[in-house]
């Protein structure tokens, strides 16, 4: 059996999972492969220690892009259940990884393939899919995890799916889901109470990563700095943006940890408003250790703006 070592800073979770995968003793545990940290965190809520979890990306990696590493293929090959966002978010790498995994159970259409975006109502779906519009996402905005109702729907569906894949523990999954949803509902009420103070907050975001959050909390995202991912804005676009925002400046500019900081800093300097790095997902800052903490931190960051 080969030794697999990891660079410092790699997610311990993948390392632990892989070591576990390579050890024959744990062959009975359900292996779950999550594409993004938020779904890893949700699996931990719903299944806890019952499953072996591997998470493909960290909060500091853009889920649109991923470098191929052997451990990823190993984790996908051994997975009984794959939990990803879908809606084309991982289109650049997940189909390749699935093909390369040689694992029939997690291919699209099989029970082992769970796409969270299938269970929520997506926003920003273009009315006419027309390539002249450029950044066309016919499936709508895939950054769905920052709306608590989405988390609820996905948790319900995921608990059912876990039970289908692993009937022996189905009872435990459904109990855990019930408990999670009860705690989540209470927390949501608290957050919504605090968020009244945030209503109508004017913000600029780097990319459309926070649209669901804005929908939920009634934030007003007045502009995005890089509407087309990876394509720098043109001089005319920046000039228009600056003119529009100078007259009516936003409270601040928000971005996810993996998004390029330069456009935000450029605008911040000219408008004299702060740039704030949102946690965006679980692990995105020191305190965002699970889904509850992620939402808590997100609201705390926004509250600091208002004060």
């Amino acid at each position: 059996m080969a030794r697999i070592s990891f660079r410092a800073g790699e997610m311990n979770r993948i390392a632990l999972t892989l070591l576990a995968l390579l050890a024959p003793l744990s062959a009975n545990a359900l292996n779950v492969f999550a594409c993004e940290p938020e779904w890893g965190a949700l699996i931990e809520e719903l299944a806890g220690e019952t499953v072996e979890l591997a998470v493909a990306t960290t909060a500091f990696q853009d889920p649109h892009r991923l470098q191929a590493k052997p451990s990823l293929i190993a984790a996908a090959r051994n997975a009984d259940l794959l939990v990803c966002t879908g809606a084309d978010l991982e289109i650049g790498w997940l189909p390749l990884l699935l093909r390369r995994s040689g694992n029939p159970g997690i291919q699209p259409g099989n029970p082992g393939n769970f796409l969270a975006a299938d269970y929520v109502r997506r926003i920003e779906i273009p009315r006419v899919v027309d390539r002249s519009q450029g950044d066309v996402h016919p499936q709508g905005n895939p950054h769905i995890h920052l709306h608590p109702r989405n988390i609820e729907r996905i948790a319900e569906a995921l608990a059912v799916r876990l039970g289908e894949i692993d009937p022996a523990n189905a009872g435990e999954y459904s109990l855990r889901a019930e408990d999670f949803l009860a705690r989540w509902g209470e927390a949501r009420d608290r957050w919504e109470g605090r968020a009244l103070a945030l209503e109508g907050m004017r913000l600029v975001s780097h990319h459309r990563s926070f649209s669901y959050l804005a929908n939920w909390l009634d934030l007003d995202i007045v502009a995005t700095l890089e509407p087309k991912p990876g394509i720098p804005a043109s001089g005319a676009q920046l000039a228009r943006l600056l003119e529009q925002l100078t007259l009516n400046p936003p409270l601040g500019i928000i971005r996810a940890p993996f998004e390029n900081e330069k456009p935000a800093l450029w605008l911040s300097e000219r408008l004299g408003v702060p740039v704030v790095e949102m946690p965006f997902t679980v692990g995105g800052n020191e305190d965002s250790t699970d889904l509850f903490a992620l939402y808590e931190q997100t609201i705390v960051v926004l509250e600091e703006y208002v004060q």
């Binding site: 080969a2 070592s5 191929a68 991912p229 394509i231």
Partner: protein, 257 residues
């Protein structure tokens, strides 16, 4: 090495072998002519061809993407062949200019239509670890044709032929293993063997450095869980240094042309 690790390395290693098969001989010629950045320029133009096709409204997919990429690469090859005849002294500089023009033309076209951006990324940042066996067949056919043309018609290939072969070889291999690895396979074995006088020995050791470097890199990638393309480039460089500084000085007597 477990069966599973072999299954990860297998297709990636075969892909490297295919790329090496054409790039080691082409690399010695590129080095001799002093036009080492030609692969970057040709690959970039191939990517531009795909973006242009997309913008002109062909729903470029599968085979059509390849046609667009190869056509653009062949046009670039023809232009570079012409500049090579017209201004041989500044050919390397012109290739550099062609590279930045193609790369930035891509940005300009994509500003109006970023949808082609996905194709561009697919074309320029192939990842050797994602390769599966089905993808290898078309590249194997192209490589065989390029090699056939190279070895049987080499002496008649003086002009455009060389550039055209290059366009085919680079367009096919960049999509498989990415631009860094293509550049490394082209230049590093050629550099390591440049002092060898006998053409056959040069090929033999060039292939040797390439195969050992690729295999060592892929094994390292699995045992240390590192991105495969990047670690293969480094192990190719190390293999080249070991050959040129340690092995060749001991056996150079075999090189009697």
């Amino acid at each position: 090495m477990s069966e599973f690790e072999l299954s990860i390395i297998g297709p990636a290693f075969l892909a490297s072998l295919l790329v090496l098969s054409t790039h080691v001989p082409l690399g010695t010629e590129v080095l001799r002519r002093g036009i080492i950045f030609i692969d970057l320029a040709i690959a970039q133009v191939a990517g531009l061809g795909v973006i242009a096709a997309d913008t002109m409204g062909w729903e470029a997919q599968g085979f059509m993407v390849q046609i667009a990429a190869v056509s653009a690469a062949l046009i670039a090859a023809y232009i570079l062949h012409w500049t090579d005849k017209r201004w041989p002294k500044i050919q390397e500089a012109l290739i550099g200019v062609a590279f930045v023009l193609a790369a930035t033309a891509g940005i300009l076209v994509l500003a109006g239509n970023p949808h082609g951006g996905e194709h561009l990324k697919e074309l320029l940042v192939g990842q050797v670890l994602w390769v599966n066996y089905e993808q290898l067949l078309p590249v194997a056919i192209i490589s065989a044709l390029v090699l056939f043309a190279w070895y049987w018609m080499r002496d008649r290939l003086a002009g455009f032929g060389f550039y055209a072969l290059f366009a085919f070889a680079v367009t096919a291999s960049v999509q498989l293993v990415g631009i860094y690895l293509v550049f490394a396979c082209l230049i590093i074995p050629a550099l390591a063997t440049r002092h060898i006088a006998s053409r056959n020995l040069r090929m033999f050791f060039g292939y040797g450095v390439g195969v050992v470097g690729c295999l060592a890199g892929l094994v390292l990638s699995v045992s240390a869980d590192l991105p495969a393309g990047a670690i293969v480039v480094w192990s190719l460089a190390v293999a080249a240094l070991i050959f040129a500084w340690l092995i060749w000085p001991l056996i150079r007597r075999v090189d009697r042309p």
